[in-house]
Structures are given as structure tokens and as C-alpha cells.
Amino acid sequence: MLDALMIGFAGLGILILLIVIRMPIAYAMILVGGIGVAILSGPAILFSQLKTLAYSQFSNYSLSVVPMFILMGNIATQTGLSRDLFRAANAWIGWLRGGTAMAAIAACAGFGAVCGSSLATASTMGQVALPELRRYRYSGALATGTLAAGGVLGILIPPSVVLVVYAVIVEANIVSMFAAALFPGIIAVIFFILTIGVYVMVRPEAGPKGGASTRGEFLAATLGVLPVLVIFGLVIGGIYGGFFNPTPAGAIGVFLVWLYGIFRRSVSMRSLGEALLATARTTGMIYLIVLGAELLKIFMSRGGVPQAIADWMANSGLAPMTVLVILLIALIFLGCLMDSLSMILLAIPFFWPVLVEINGGDYVPAEMAGFGMSSEDLKIWFGILSLIVVELGLITPPVGMNVFVISAMARDTPMRETFIGVMPFFAAEIVRVAILLAFPAITLWLPHYLSG
């Protein structure tokens, strides 16, 4: 067991070193995993496995929903749907103190409902809302902080690429995961809006009131959100209602957003091409990380690492909740280094067996389980908790992808100020995690209700 733990730590150490010297995370995983397998079991095994491994990983049906949601988000970006969402939200709450920032959060949530990725949400809504926020003389910190944090909603509100990948790793039902994410996602929106409210109470000059809109503007803007409601209703409603599986649902989403774009004359062949190329970049990157993570998993399995870690943690005598909190904090720290998807792929294969072991196995009845819930429920609950903490990595220094994206747009605001601007949102997220930890029912109610 000691050998196995040594192998695990050595592998992790080299992986981090490679990441620090700017090796793309996918290739860092491929290098460590591949060389690790070759050392443990001989290069012949590695070479044989590479004959089919990439083909089978890339043709995994459960993952096929990922390019669907990414394409849907990228076409949505081209349609001008983000502008409609923001205009409506601004007509509703823009007249409040800090209202335009609140509207940006609401619009991010709306866009998140048709987009599976955080970065796409941050950049799309940034393009729309940042000029408006600056026009109303919002402080640089609040304006950029709001948008960087708001981008996170792209993945906290289903559909969500990270949740799909989590479900694939732990073999959870994707539908249950999406259902579980809904109420925590709505809580996030409310908390972010409250955060802005408190922020502008403390610092009124940071978020002035916007202008009130006329009745006609209000009505027109509100009608503008209808397409989003319809698409979200059909896609996510269809998934929740069980009318279709996630991949066909994603396909229908792509189809509808595309139709909407053609109808609005905002999606030409050219912009469709741009959406496809953006999808190519993101999808290629994600699948390469999936392949790297698979190689890393094989290396660790051959070294006996996951079992050793699970045994070690289970025999540590720590209370189940303590272990859970330790794992979540570890994810927050990893989030300083890596993007959310790599983190899920790297950490969950090790963390999940630990939790199952502590809980008492796959089939333990709830009354005898370490966490007081079945392992199926634990899978869902832990998935949502880890989703939130890995997404925090997007707004924490030093590597905070959302902050980078927004900074690149807001040249006049130093990045340091953006990091300061997201701090209150970070605090709100920690409060949210604590609440979800204390009350698992918030997460578990909807999936239970839907599965009868």
C-alpha cells in the first residue's frame, strides 16, 4: 500500500511540475499516464492499448452530449440572444441601485440555461453587458467582478458540460445530475444578486441606478426572452420530463437555436462556420483531456493507487463529514492550478471511491450509511458540491479563466481589481456550499421527485 501511495504522489508531483511549466494539461496527463503505464507494465501494454483507446473514448455515447451543448452555446452566441436577455433583465431591475449589474447576473443565468460552458457565458455576456455597465459608470471592480462571477452560472445552471463529465466518471444518471443542479443554481443567482445589493449599500458610488424604461420598451424587452424560455423549456424540460435523453435533447437545442438564428437573420453560413470552429477548439481540447485522464487512470489503477487512497482515508478514523470537507478544500486548492474539467477528470476517480468506502459501499441502506444517505444520493450530492467548488477555480487567482476573459475585454481595469471585485461573490459561494452541505435535501429533492 505504501508503494502504491508513493506511485500516486510521484505521479501527481510530476504532473503539477509539467503544468507549472506551461505544458497543456491534456499532454501533461498523457505524458505522466503513458510513461507511468510503460514503467509499471512495459511499453508493449501501452502500445497495444493505444490501438483502440482513443477511438473508444471519443465514441463514448454519454460524452456525445458535450459537443451538442457546446455547439448550442456557440450558435446562441452568434444569434444575439444574449442581448435580448440582458435588455429584458435590465428593463425589469435596471432601475435599482446596482440594478444593471443585477440584470447582468440574471442574463448570465438565462444564457447559462442554453449554454453548457462557463467561459462562453462569461465572454458572450461580457461583450453585451460590459459596455452598458461602463456607460452607467459602474466601478471597474464591480463591473468586471460581476461578469466574471456571472459566467460561472453558465455551468451551475443546467445544461452543464462539467456535470456530464462527472456523471460519466461516477456512472451517475445525467438527468438526475441536471435535476439536482437546478435549485442550487437558482440559489446562486439569488445570492449573487443579493451580493450586489450589499456591495452597493456599502459603496453606493460603485453601482449607480440605471434609467427606468417606458412601458413599450418594457413589454418589447420582456417578449424578447420568450425564445430562450421556449428553448430551455423544450431542452431541459424535455430532459427532466424524460421525453428525451440528453444527447437528442442537446441536438434539438442546437436545431432550435439555429432556427432562431436563421429566423432573426443573425446566423449566416459565415457565423455558423465561426460557431463550428469555436466548437472545434473547445471540443478537441475537452476530448484530449478526457483521453489524458483515461491514461492517467490506467496508470494509477495498475499502481493500485485509488484502492490505497480509499483504504487509507477509510482507516484514518476521520468523521465522514470531515473527509468530505477535506476533499472539497483540496478541490478548491487544485482550482488555483487547473481548469474545472481537468480537475473533475483528475480528482473524482480518486475522491469518489473514498466516499463510497466511508459511506459503506455501493448498496448500503441509508440508515446504515456513513453520510446517512444511499450511495446513489451521495453521488448526486457530492457531484453538485464538487461542481461548485471546481467552478470557484474559475474566479480565484492565480489561474482564473473567467477573470482572464473579462480582463481581456476591460482593458482599462487592472486584473488585480477584477480579482478584488469577485471576492464578494466568492464569499457568497462559500456560504452557498455551507448551506448545501447542511441541507442535502435542497439538492436531492428534485431528482427524487422526478424519479418518483
Binding site: S48, Q49, L53, S56, E171, G241, G242, N245, R302, G361
Partner: protein
Amino acid sequence: AQEFVFKLHHLLGANSPAQKNMLEPWAKQVEENSGGRVKIEIYPAMSLGGRPPELIQQVRDGVVDLVWTVNGYTPGLFPRTEVFELPSVFRNDIKATNLAMYDLFESDLKQEYKGLEVMWLHVHAGQAIMTVDKEVHSPADMAGMKIRIPTRTGAWVIEALGAAPVAMPVPAVPQALSKKVVDATLLPWEIIPPLKLQNQIKYFIEGHNQTRIGTTTFQVSMNKARWDSLPDDIKKAFRDASGRDWWGKVGDIWRAGDDFGISVAEKAGRKHIVLSEAETEAFMEAVQPVVQRWIEEVSAKGIDGAALVEKARAAIAANTAAN
């Protein structure tokens, strides 16, 4: 000392009945037979990488030493063994079918296991009909239903019954049933507890005397080169643990798992329907085209399908009578 270490790779979880009740006892027996010189490490849940259809290639390439896998994951690779999956060839007797495969193995099946040393073959209890909310007593009752495809030939069964075959992975089945994306599924009872199908299914239907509509074949195989490299006494340790008795015993293990499955559904207050003899024969009649279609298809590959069907039926009958 453990001189010979084998990695056994499979797709189900570490606590699955297949690992607990079949793979682990067998591995222990081999280890005992060898006087502790053999060690079989079981890697569940595809933990050595890849996805289930790759298991066969992995063991052929020596990426792992042993696999337990479903033959149907690689359609077309084991056409002769597939005869035992056909409805009306396999009727109800797991043990007799396993023993029939044992008896015909050298003469009729072995040739298609290229690069593999088969430890044993087996079937599960066979496809029963599980419907969300419709009581079924005749093939006509199933026309117009959307039914999940269990195997390649299972898709033909569904078509023969006038229903629409829908493909989806096993984990998606409960949700699809609960919202009637499919109206029914063809699966053995043993799958009820892990998928909690008693929550979605009202009617659990099987034929007279546990008759089912076809089944699925499985294999446990070793890499051929690895096998050939083993000294005779180690080979004997494996052979002794996987003899004719064991093939039969595996039948008992799967029968017990199947009985447990239906008891879970019954306890949940679901209706377990056993068709009358006449009703059962009506189903067997309706699926005859499937057997015909299979014979035609394998004949194109140069296999005498009709003769194989007869041989398989005779071997199963002989073993059923002997039990």
C-alpha cells in the same frame, strides 16, 4: 509464493453479484488448486481503461490476462456461439444451455475464439418482458410498443413482434421507462435490483415454465499466448476450476440471481405474469422468423446455420433431460 499473477478485467462493479458470486469464488479455487502459486487480481468497472467492447481486444493483445465479457458487445465475432442466444433455441434452462455449450465447444465453437483460451461460456436467465403499464398475453399485445433492444438478435425479435426497437445504454433504461420513451424492455430478472426496475415497471412477464425470448452469451477467456506459456501444473489448476461441473454451477449461480430479482419486484407489489403453455407457444411461433433470419445471415458467412440450430437444440434437450 505467487509466481503467476493474472489481471482479470470486467465492466461491472466490485460489489456486483457477477464478481462476488462467480468471478471471486472461481479465482479463489484456481489459487487454491495452484497451492498459492497463482494470484488473480480482479479489476472491476473497466478500471484498466477503455470501454466494454474493447475487453476482447484487450485480452487478445495481452493488455490484460483475463476478461469476463458479453459476446454481443462485438457483434459478428462469435456467430456460432450466438446460436444459443436465439429465441426458441434457448428456452429456459441456464444450466443445460451452459452444459450444451461445453459439449459442443471443441467441435463447433472453439474455432471462433481466435487468440483466446476460453475458461468458460455461460448465458443469463434470458429475456423476460417488462412493460411499464400494459398487460401482455400475446404477440399482438406488443404491436406498436417502443421496446429497448437487448441484443442484436433481440432487435429482430422486437421487429417480428411488430414493435419498434430503440437502442440505449442500460443505465438510461429506468428513466426512459419512467417517462415512456420506451414502453417495455427485454431483460432478465437479475437486472431488476441494480436498476430498481420495480419502480418503473408494472408487469413482469415470462413464459410457461420460465420460458424466455432468447438470452445473452458471456465468456471468461485468457490471452492465448499467456496460456501457452504456462507450465502444465498451472494449466491444470485453471482447468480443474473450470471443468464441466463449473459451467453447470455457473448456471445455478445465475438462476439464483434471477430468482432474487423477481422476488424484489414481487415484494414491491408488482404483477408477475406467467403465460400459459398455449400463450407461450404463440410467442415462440411469432419469433420463428428470427431463427430463419439468423440462419440466412450466418449461411452467408459459410456456416451451416440450420444444422447448428438443430445441434444446439439437441444438446440443450439432452442436458435438460439429464438434470
